[in-house]
Structures are given as C-alpha cells and as structure tokens.
C-alpha cells in the first residue's frame, strides 16, 4: 500500500513540471465530462426523453456514470497502456522481478490525477439532480454497487491488458472497453430484454451506473444481489486470466 | 574544394529551468536566458574524396557543425559552401547531393521492409531504374543484407538497421556523405562490416565523408584526415598519420605478477619507464614508443612470473588532453 501511495505522489510532481499542459489537460477533462449532461439537456429540451426516466432522474444517472467513469479512468485506464508499453520496452520483466506484486506497481504508475476532475464534475451533477428529486435511497446498496462498479471496470481493463501482452501492437483494444462503457452510459431499459438480462446476469455491465443510480433513486431492482455475485466472479476470472497471461509472458520472454 | 566553411558560428538561446514550485511560478513571468556558444568560428576546406573525422569531447560542437552543413540547423553567422550550395537556400536542390546518417534517428519507414523505403527513395530522388537496380545490388551485396532488407525495419537489430540506413543514404550516389555517430551501439562485427563498406564506397565512387564519432577505430579504419573540435573551435586539423606520430607517444602496460625472478633485470626495466602505479605485485608503466615494445615484453616475461599482463594504447581522451596541453 505504501508503495502505491509513493508512486502516486511521484506522478503528481512529474505532472506539475509540465505546468501549462497540466492545466489544459485538467480543463479539457472537465469539459469532456460535460458531454453526457449536455446530451441529456439538449435531448430533453427538444421534447424527447428516455422512456421512464424524467429529466432529473436521468441527470442523476449520468452524474453517477460520469463520476464512476472518472474514478475508473483515474485508477485503471492507463494500466492498459502501461502494460503495453512495458511489454514493448521490456520493462515488464523488470517489474516482475521486484518483491512487490506487479499489479501494485503497474497500478501505481497508472494513476491519472487529471481524471479526478471528471469525478468532481459528475458528482456535482449528481448532487444537483439529487437535490431536485425527493428520494428514498438505499445508501448501503448504493455504496456496495459503486465499489463493485469500479471492480468491474478494473476487470475489463485486466482482460484487455492480458490481451495486449500477446498482441502488443493492438493499442485500439481499449476501444472495446470504451464501447462497453457507452452501453452502460444509458439506463438498461433502453435495451431489449435479452441484452438487459445478459448484461445483468452474465457480464454485469449494468453494475456501472444503472444499479447504483437505481439504488440511489429507489427504483425497484431486478436481481439486486445476483449482480454482486456475478461481478465478484467476473473479477476473479479476469484476475485469473491476467495471472495466466503473465505466466505465459515470462515463459516465452527472452 | 567542395566544402568550405568560413568563420562558422552558432549560439543557442537556452531558457534556464529552476527547481522548486516558487521558481516554477516565477518562470511563468520571467525566464532567465543563457546563451551557449556551441560553435565559435570554424574554418574548414575539404576536397573531393577526403574522408574527414570530427573528434572532440561531448558538447564540443561537432554535431552542431555537421547539422549546419546538412541544412538541419542554421548558423548564427558565417558562410557554408557545399558543392556550390548554401544548405539553407535551395534546400531541395542541395539535399539531392548529400547523404546523411544520424546514429540515433532513422530515415527509414519503420513498419515496412527497408527495400520498400529504398524504392520510394528512387522516386523521391528521381533515380533512373537501371542505375538504381545496379546500385542497390552493389550496396546490398557489399553489406550482405539481401534477405534483411525484405523484413520490416522494426524487426531488425540495430546493426542490421544501420546497414539499411547506409544503403538508403547512398542510393542516389551523393558526392558527400555526412555521418553523425554512425556506429554507436552497433555490435563489433557489424561495425567492421560498415567500416569496410565505407572504404569500398569511397574507392569506387570517390564519395567525400564527413564523420563524427567517439570511436577511435572508426577514425583509424575509415578516415584519412582528422579535425579535432573542442569548445566550439578547431584545435587540430591534419592527417591521421601526423596526429598519431605527433601525439601518440606512449604505450601503457599493466603487469600483475607473483614472484620476481630476476630482480636486477626487472629494476633496470622499470627505470626505462614512467611508473604510474607502483604496487607490491602490480605495476602500471608508461613506456615511450621509441622503445622496442616486443623486447620489453620479453624482458618482463623473463624477469617476473606474470599473472596478468595487458597493453593499452593511450585512449582517445588522453591523446586529446595532450593536444590541449599543447594548445594552451
């Protein structure tokens, strides 16, 4: 844990050395996170709407999604690129001989401070929407779901990072995660039944935002506890695949 | 005379970067500027076919000078005349007559086989098909890279890649070839092949070489003229032979021994030399080149029980230091 925190502080001091770049990246992160709320605002202003979600409810939904996306991005997004880069440069082998779990080292250098501005933006939007609605939230379940959502995002990153160890050149693999995140950026009732069930029971994609938002709003949830189990299983599966890929990598590495 | 440099100067403007948060904020408003005179007035004349090596410590101005000659950098003042061109004017016309190799920076396209870069070269430089094929054949045979050029450049080792770079730089048969640290990081065998290659090319096409390097062997094998640059000016300009005979006056011998067999002989031997390190069973000696080294070695072997013995020519750094002493 100490190692992780030290790596984090190293990162921020090296980012600050590129002052202008730091500020512009921060501002652009913030502005990017306005894209989804803007979509909602413009959509509802034109008279259209998401079925079964009023303006403030969907705003809350998107606020949670943005904040979660920002958190996931802050912790895990760069993990994929750093794994790829380390494989390319051979640095991964150095990481593997250190007396610390390589996951901690890779995660430590993957922390992206600028993404926290997205967390801030998303939280502000969610808080605003929350105040507008009078809700009976299930806080406990909400927090559990938030934690699991991050775990699921990490699982997705672990899976594609395992792939990039083998297919080093295919940096566009990250797009798969991005497309899945896009699916989760809309409430699940937008999709046909099959998709809803599939992404709740088998690959718990809707743990990102739909479930936490619904817990917060007080919507009735289908399979509220199954998804907890599925997320944990999914995570353990992705961890297993990651470990296996590392083994294969060191086996073949020369 | 195909290359002439007259009073060439280059001064860089560098912004000072200070440590600490306070200074970083200060630097947003005002920045300290430092002027670095990299080249302080270089005069040089080079004839066709010469193979010139630029030597000098890091930061001496060698790379800066060569970059100005290539047209990559513009001088602060002074004149450059190469093949009748000013490298900064008529760039496109000028560069058709030069080849350039920069050790660290590749000219080939990374993801595709080198041979595809070569064919693109032909189009860019407008080389006639027959001449091109003939030259490609000659150059690839000389470096034995017929199969290597078919592989993507990114999959090649440094030595293989450098050979391809050499071919690329000579396909259009430029009268002048500039090389900036061409063998840096390359394995010993490839270095040898490259040096031999340059020799052959110069023989066949009378190409003029300008080469910067830290590797004395590059100079020995390839060059016939040495220009030593230090702190932005030329401190020696002459043939390699003259340089060696004038400055390389000593040989260093290190002896590790266990027992002295013939004390008298050993002591008289030691008198002939400058003793650099005097240990109980270890000696480092500086011997004048006037002495017969072979005889000395025989004497050593017969006067002590040798555990280890090594002979060293003085390193390039020390030769240059000798030259500085003279200049000062």
């Amino acid at each position: 844990m100490k190692t992780y925190l030290r790596l984090l502080s190293l990162k921020i001091s090296s980012r600050l050395s590129y002052k202008l770049d730091f500020f512009t990246t921060l501002i652009s992160s913030l502005l990017w996170s306005l894209a989804s709320p803007l979509f909602i605002i413009l959509l509802y202003q034109s008279g259209a709407s998401y079925p079964d979600w009023n303006f403030n409810e969907i705003l809350l939904f998107i606020g949670i999604y943005t904040a979660l996306f920002g958190l996931g991005r802050a912790f895990f997004y760069n993990f994929f690129f750093n794994t790829g880069a380390d494989v390319r440069t051979g640095y991964l082998e150095l990481t593997l001989i250190k007396p610390v779990d390589e996951l901690v080292l890779l995660l430590g250098k993957s922390f992206d401070w600028e993404s926290l501005s997205e967390v801030l933006a998303g939280s502000l939007i969610a808080i605003y929407a929350f105040i507008q609605l009078s809700l009976s939230p299930n806080i406990f379940l909400f927090l559990v779901y938030i934690g699991l959502a991050l775990l699921f995002y990490f699982s997705m990153i672990l899976l594609i990072s395992s792939l990039i160890m083998k297919y080093v050149q295919v940096t566009r693999l990250i797009e798969i995660v991005e497309r899945f995140m896009d699916i989760a950026s809309h409430p699940k009732n937008v999709y046909p039944r099959v998709v809803q069930t599939g992404f709740s029971i088998f690959i718990p994609l809707f743990i990102i935002s739909y479930y936490p938002a619904s817990a917060l709003i007080g919507f009735e949830l289908v399979y509220p506890f199954t998804i907890i189990l599925t997320t944990l299983i999914f995570f353990m599966l992705s961890l297993y695949i990651w470990r296996k890929s590392i083994k294969n990598y060191t086996g073949a590495g020369g | 005379m195909i290359i002439e440099l007259k009073d060439l100067k280059k001064t860089f403007k560098i912004y000072k970067k200070e440590e600490g948060l306070l200074n970083s904020l200060k630097s947003l408003i005002k920045r300290d500027v430092v002027f670095v005179e990299a080249v302080k007035g270089i005069n040089l004349k080079i004839e066709k076919g010469e193979r010139v090596g630029f030597l000098g410590p890091n930061g001496a101005g060698k790379s800066t000078t060569i970059k100005m000659m290539c047209g990559i950098l513009h001088p602060t003042s002074g004149d450059i005349n190469i093949l009748g061109f000013n490298p900064l004017k008529n760039r496109k016309k000028y560069v058709k007559n030069i080849g350039v190799i920069f050790g660290q920076k590749s000219q080939l396209w990374f993801d595709i086989p080198a041979v595809d870069s070569f064919y693109l070269h032909r189009e860019i430089y407008g080389i006639e098909e027959d001449i091109f094929e003939e030259r490609l054949e000659f150059l690839t045979n000389l470096l034995s890279v017929k199969e290597i050029i078919k592989r993507p450049v990114r999959n090649l080792s440094l030595g293989e890649r450098m050979k391809c770079e050499f071919i690329a730089s000579l396909l259009h048969n430029p009268p002048v070839l500039f090389l900036d640290e061409p063998t840096i990081g390359v394995d010993a065998i490839s270095k040898d092949e490259i040096r031999n290659f340059l020799h052959e090319v110069n023989k066949k096409f009378n190409t003029t070489f300008i080469l910067t390097t830290h590797d004395m062997d590059d100079i020995e094998e390839v060059c016939n003229r040495v220009v030593i640059i230090d702190k932005g000016t030329i401190i020696y300009d002459g043939s390699l032979k003259k340089l060696k005979s004038k400055y390389v006056k000593h040989t260093n011998i290190k002896i590790d021994y266990s027992k002295v067999k013939n004390k008298k002989k050993f002591e008289s031997l030691l008198k002939k030399a400058d003793i650099i390190v005097d240990g109980k069973s270890y000696k480092e000696l500086k011997l004048s080149k006037d002495l017969d080294i072979n005889k000395i070695l025989k004497d050593i072997m017969s006067s002590v029980d040798v555990v280890d013995l090594s002979i060293q020519e003085p390193r390039l750094e020390s030769v240059i230091k000798e030259i500085y002493k003279e200049v000062k």
Binding site: Y18, L20, D21, F22, T24, T25, I27, W32, A35, L38, F39, L42, L43, Q45, S46, A48, Y50, P51, Y167, Q169, V170, T171, R172, L173, I176, E178, R179, F180, D182, I183, H186, N189, V190, P192 | F12, T64, K67, C70, G71, I72, L73, H74, L88, R91, V95, K96, I98, V100, F102, K105, S106, Q107, W109, I112, Y119, L120, E123, I124, Y125, P152
Partner: protein, 269 residues
C-alpha cells in the same frame, strides 16, 4: 512529379497493411456502437419513429451517427501524433535532408491509408449497416451535396491536424492543447448530437468554425436533410462556404508550417 505521388500512395497502403490488426478492431467496436445507437434511439422515439426530433426521424438519427463514424474513418489523419513524436524523437529530420516536404508527403500517405481502410474497415461496416437499415439507406437524395461536403471534410481535417501538429515546434508538451482541439471538434462537429439540437444562436456561431464541415454537414446531408437555420443548402452555397474555410485554414497551415520549420532549424534536431 506524378510518379512520386503514386509511390507515396502505395507506401501509405503498405504502412496501413502493417496496421492490419488495429483495423480489425473496427469490426468489433463498430457493431457495438451501431447497436447501442440503434437501441437508444429506438427507445427514445418509442412508438413514433416517424416523428421528427430536431429535424431527424428514427432512421435519419441512427443514420446520422453511422454515417458520421464512416466519415471519421475516411478522413482520419494520424499526422498530429506523427509530427509530435517525429519531432520529439528526431525522426522528422528525414524530411529536412530529403528533397520532399512533409505536408505533401503525408497528404498522399493518408490517401493511401484511407484506400486501405475503405477495403478493410468500411466495406464490412457498410455491409452490416445495409443489413440492419436496409441497403436503400445508401440511396441518399443529396448525393452531390454529400460528395462536395465530404471532400471539404477531408481537406479541412487534414489541414487542422497539420496545424495541431505544428504545435510541437513551440510547445514541448502540446497534449493539453491538442485535447482541447479534439474536444471542440467533438462538441462542435455534432459528435454529441446533431447541431440542430442546439439553440439557433449557438448554431450560427458553430457554423462559423470549421468543425461542422468535418462531421455534421456531410452526415446531415447524407440522411436527407438540407435545410439549416431556415437556409436551404445548395451546391453553390456549400462550395462557397467550404472554399472560404479551406482558404483560411490553408493559409494558416502554410504560415505555421513555414515558421515551425524555421524554428526547428534554429534549434536543430
């Protein structure tokens, strides 16, 4: 003069082939993107797919995003990143010591790359779209207008990525500014929603920028719309609008490039 162009295009194709595995990703990410948009808009339109939201019915709305993505594929330019890395790492000098200019060279490389992308990425996508939306989707009523706008989209995108690339001549780390550019492009080119969703005054302002030409206008025209802010888009109007943008940004790109190279030569590689 002509011969090098052909070789450069061929080179662009060859380079593209080296990136084959990357291109395969489009085959995975596009269907997901397509289905997401399809389900989203189907549920938003609900029982009334033929009503118009901001000037689009259901098919037009889904089509807008699909065509938009295809336009992105066909106009994609890598030169911003290539310049940033090439100058940072020094490989850029190959363009100074060879008798070619980077802008000219990279333009034709892009053409080569896009030809390959058409075969490897676009054809399968077009097939999928045809199956889901019906192949008559491709019979756009605004073919001429679309083609004119597409050509402008290609050139404007090329010029702007070149301009963004020149930033490296003056900023050691241009990433922040580049991100802001990409952000503006996404928002103002109609990447979030078609520009007709924005208040009219905002639409006016956005149309003064080069961004709508890169995505919104071609996609808008393709799905069958041709009236914006009460103005009918005629070929002549489009040509004048595009030409003005093209001239302005060509000049900016030209001057920035020349200044940039001069600065580069002042400092060396």
């Amino acid at each position: 003069m002509f011969k090098p162009v052909l070789s450069i295009i061929k080179m662009g194709i060859k380079e593209g082939v080296a990136y084959r595995p990357q291109m395969l990703l489009t085959l995975i990410s596009f269907p997901i993107f397509f289905l997401t948009q399809f389900f989203l808009w189907t549920s938003i339109f609900g029982d009334s797919p033929n009503t118009s939201i901001a000037g689009f019915d259901l098919t037009q709305m889904v089509g807008y995003y699909i065509v938009g993505l295809l336009i992105l594929v066909f106009t994609y330019s890598h030169i911003t990143t290539e310049l940033h890395n090439g100058i940072r790492e020094g490989h850029f000098i190959k363009f100074i010591i060879k008798p070619i200019s980077y802008p000219f060279f990279s333009f034709w490389i892009i053409i080569g790359g896009r030809i390959l992308a058409f075969v490897m990425e676009a054809i399968p996508l077009l097939f999928v779209v045809g199956l889901m939306l019906g192949f008559d989707f491709f019979l756009t009523p605004n073919l001429t207008l679309f083609l004119i706008s597409f050509v402008f989209a290609f050139f404007i995108n090329y010029l702007l990525s070149l301009i963004m690339g020149t930033l490296i001549f003056w900023f050691t780390n241009p990433n922040g500014i580049t991100w802001i550019y990409r952000l503006l492009r996404y928002f103002f080119a109609g990447g979030i929603l078609p520009l007709t969703f924005f208040p009219e005054i905002i639409q006016y302002i956005i149309l003064l920028t080069p961004f709508p030409l890169m995505y919104f206008i071609p996609a808008f025209l393709f799905v069958g719309n041709n009236v914006i802010l009460g103005i009918e888009i005629t070929p002549l109007l489009l040509l004048i609008y595009g030409a003005i943008q093209l001239i302005i940004f060509s000049l900016i790109a030209y001057f920035l490039w020349r200044r940039g190279v001069k600065t580069f030569q002042g400092v060396g590689a």
